[in-house]
Symmetry: C3
Subunit: 357 residues, 3 copies
Amino acid sequence: MTDIALADLAAALGLELVGDGAIRIRRPAHPAEAGPDDLAVAMDRRYGDALSAGRARAAILWPGADPAEHGLDAALLAPRPRYAMAGLTAHFAPPTEAAPGVHPSAVIDPSAELGRAASVGPLAVIGPGARVGAGAVVLAHASLGAQAEIGSGTVLHSGARVGARCRLGARVLVHPNAVIGADGFSFTTAEPGAVEAAKARGAVDTPSDAGHVRIHSLGAVAIGDDVEIGAGATIDRGTLRDTVVGAGTKIDNQVQVGHNVRIGRDCLICAQVGLAGSAEIGDRVVLGGKVGVADNIRIGEDSVVAGASAVGSHVPARSVMMGVPAMPRDRFRRLHMALGRLPRMMERLAAAEPGKP
Amino acid sequence: MTDIALADLAAALGLELVGDGAIRIRRPAHPAEAGPDDLAVAMDRRYGDALSAGRARAAILWPGADPAEHGLDAALLAPRPRYAMAGLTAHFAPPTEAAPGVHPSAVIDPSAELGRAASVGPLAVIGPGARVGAGAVVLAHASLGAQAEIGSGTVLHSGARVGARCRLGARVLVHPNAVIGADGFSFTTAEPGAVEAAKARGAVDTPSDAGHVRIHSLGAVAIGDDVEIGAGATIDRGTLRDTVVGAGTKIDNQVQVGHNVRIGRDCLICAQVGLAGSAEIGDRVVLGGKVGVADNIRIGEDSVVAGASAVGSHVPARSVMMGVPAMPRDRFRRLHMALGRLPRMMERLAAAEPGKP
Amino acid sequence: MTDIALADLAAALGLELVGDGAIRIRRPAHPAEAGPDDLAVAMDRRYGDALSAGRARAAILWPGADPAEHGLDAALLAPRPRYAMAGLTAHFAPPTEAAPGVHPSAVIDPSAELGRAASVGPLAVIGPGARVGAGAVVLAHASLGAQAEIGSGTVLHSGARVGARCRLGARVLVHPNAVIGADGFSFTTAEPGAVEAAKARGAVDTPSDAGHVRIHSLGAVAIGDDVEIGAGATIDRGTLRDTVVGAGTKIDNQVQVGHNVRIGRDCLICAQVGLAGSAEIGDRVVLGGKVGVADNIRIGEDSVVAGASAVGSHVPARSVMMGVPAMPRDRFRRLHMALGRLPRMMERLAAAEPGKP
C-alpha cells in the first residue's frame, strides 16, 4: 500500500513501459477519478475521453496506445486487460484484516491445534479437536466445528461457519456468513408420497398423510486447495460420503450446494446457483448466475451454462447450454427466434383461413 | 457411534437378515469405500459391481438379493430403500455438537428462562424474557431475541437468529445462519407509484418522486413442532398477524418466506424457493428448488411444483405444476413439445409460400 | 406501545374519524382476531364479514363505510389503505431491541469512534478506526470492519457484517446476517478460457487448463441514507471504485449485488434478486422477486421488471419488462398467448396436410 515507481510496477507485472518510469504510483483508479499520484486504469479505447478529463499522469492502456495523446507522462501497455487487472489489484490489495495471534475474547477448545502464525479474531469459536493450519486466519465471529480442519493460509471471514469434521485445504477463502457443513435436505416417508406419485403418474391421487422422516447426514464436506466460497453460500454435508469441491474452484455468493454433490476442479459457480443433491459437475465447468441443476444430474467437463438456466438432464462435456429447461445454445436461439415470429405467422395463417378461430 | 451386531441392527430397523448376524458394524458406507467393519449401502442392483470391488463383509441390499453372490457374508434386505436409509442414518448419526449446560461466554439475560437440561453454547445470546425449552440447544453464536421462545428439544445451530417474540415449537432444527423474524419488506408511497401504474396501464407514465414509506411488522413468526429451517433461510415477521410455518414442514437452505405467509403442515420447500408476502401454501405441498410464488397466491394442498417454476396465479389442490409462468405439467409438456417442432414447421410453411418473409 | 384514544390516533394519521373518539386503542389487529381494545384493520369491503365475526369496537375502514353497519362504535376512514398502514404500524411498532450504551461483552477497538447515544449490543465487534454515528445501534453479534462507518440512526441487526472501509449513511437498516463488503467475484486466466470461447464461437473447443487468477477488490461499498438491506443479502465491494446503493433504496432479503454495481435512488429490489457485476440500475426502478440482471447491463429509471425475469440486455427508462429472457410486457404476453395456441394450430395444419410429419 506504499507507493511504487512505475518502472518497478511494469517489471512486477511484466508489462511494457512507455514514458517516465520514475513516476510514483499510490493506487490504481478509475480514469475519471484518478489523481496525479494514481494509475488511471483505461485498457480500452472507450475510456480515452475519461482519461483526458482526469488528472492522472500515468495510466495502464491498451497495446499501441500513445500516452502523450491523452495528456499522460507515462503508461503501461496491457495486451490482456483482465489478466493485467489481476496482477495490478493483487499488488495494491490491502492485507486481510487480521491481527497476529489469538484475540483474548476468542473461545478455543483446549484440544484444538493452531498452526504456526495462525490468527484467531475476536469472538471466534474453535471447537474440540479442530485444526487450524499455519498462517490460517479465523476472523471475528467465525466458527470451526469439532474435528474440523482448515489448511495453511486459509481464511474464514466474519460469521463463516465450518461444521464438525469438514476439511478445507490450503489458501481457501470463505467469505462472511457462508455455511459449510449444514445437514443435507433429505427426507422420506414410510409410504410413497406426493412427489413419487407426481413423477410416476403426473397427478397426486394418493396424498400421503405420513410425516417426513429424516435421512441424516453422516458425511462431511471436503474442499480442495485454492477454493473460494462466497458470502452467504451454503454447502451441505453428504449422506454417507463427503460433499466435494475440487481444488481451484470458485463459488460466488449465495450459492447452494446440496448433499453428496461433487464439483470438479477449477470451476466457476456464479452467484445464486443451486445444485440439488448428488449433482456432479465436471472440471472447469462454468455456471452463470442463478443456474439451477436438478438432483443426480451430471454436467460434463468444460461446459458452460448461461445464467438463469435450469438444467434438468445430463449435459455432455464441452456443451454450451441455455434456457429453462436448458438446451444447447444454438437450439435455444432457434426456438426463441421462431417463437418471436409466431404471432405474425398466426395472423397470416388466420387471414388465409377466414372463418377459423 | 459404537459398533453393533448386524442382527441387532436388523431388529432395530425392522429389516430381514440373511447370513451371519454376529458381524459387527461400525458405520454404513458407500459400497466402493466400505471396509470390513462397514455396512455397504447398495440397495439398487446397479451398485453390484461397486460391491464386488469393495471390502465389505456385510451390506444392505435390495429385496431378493443374495449376499454370497457379491462376496458378502451377510446382508439386510430393504424393500423401501430411502426409508431404510432414514433408520440406518438415524442409528449412526453423531449427536449434536453441544456440551451440557451453559458455556461461561454466553450472554444470557437474567430474565430469560432455561428449561431442564437445556444447553447454551459459547458466545450465544439469549435476550430478556426469552424462554428455552427442556433439552433445547442453542449453539455457538446463535441468538434468541427478547420474549422469543423455543420448544423442548429444539436446536438453534451456529449463527441462527430468532427475533423478538417469535415462537418455535418442539424439536425444531434451525440450521446455521438462518434468520427467523426479520422485518417484512413492505413499503408504500403517499401517491400511487410505478408498480401501480405498471399493473394498471402496462406503462410507467407517471413516475413517482415520493420516497418509500415503511409499513412496519407488528407480528412475529410462529413455527410448529418438528420443522426444519435450512442454513441461510430467512422468514419475515407478519404485519399484523404472525407469519406461520405448520408442524412437520421442512424448509431447505436459502429459502425466503415473506411477511404474512402461511405454510401448512408437512410441506417440503426445497432450496432457494421464494414465497412473496401473504402467499398461502396448503398442507403437504412440495415446492422444488428455486420455485418462486408471487404475493397473495394460494397453492392448494398436496400440490407439487417442479423446480425453477414461477407461480403467478392460484393453484388448485393436488396439482402438478411446471414452468415460468407455472402451468399444469401436461400443458407445459405439450407447449414445450410444440415449440420444439416450430422452427421446422415454419420452414415448411415458408417453402409452401415462396416470396413471403 | 401504550394505548391511545381513537381521536388522537385519527389526528396523528390525518384520517377522518366517525363515531366515538374516546375509545382507547391498544394495537391494530386482523379483523377476525381483534378484541375490544384493538383497532380492527379492514380497509377493503371483503373484510366486512370478518369484522362482524370479531369483537372489535373500532376499526380502520374504507372511505364511505358506516361503522354501525359492522357493529362498531367508531372508525377511521382511509382513502389510501397502504399509506394508512404505514402510519398506523409506525405508531405501534415496538422500539428496536437495543439497550442504551455499550454492552460489556462487545469488543470495540480503542481507535473506533462512537457517536452520542450510540448503542452497541452483546458480543458485537467494532474494528480499528471504525465510526458509529449518533444514535446508531449495533446489535448482538454484528460486526463493523476497520475504518468502516455508519451514519446517525443506522441499525445493524444481529449478525450483520459491514466490511472494512464501507460507508453507510444515516437511518440505514441492515437486517440480520446481511453482508456488506465481501470481495467481488472476479477472476481471469492467463490464456482465454471457456467462457470467452463460448461467447465468441458458441462452442468450447479450446478448454483452458490454466487456473483462475483473482482480480482483487480495492473498492468498498457506499450506501446512501434511508436504505434498507434485507436479511442474508450480500453486497460486494467494487474493483477500483465503490459499489453504490442510492439513498432511499430498499433491498429485500437474499438479494445479491455484485461488484461495481450502481443502484440509483428510491429503488425497490425484491427478495432473491441477483445483480451481476457492473450492472447499473436507474432511480426508482422496481425489480420483482428473483429477477436476475446480467453483468454490465443498464436498466433505465422508473422501469419495472416482473418477478422471475432474467434481464440480458439494456432496458430503456420507464419500461415494463417480463420473461426469461426479459422483454417488454406486451410482447411477452403476445408470445405467451401465441405459444398457448400453438399445439392446436399444429394439429389443424397437420390435418390439412395429410402424410406430413
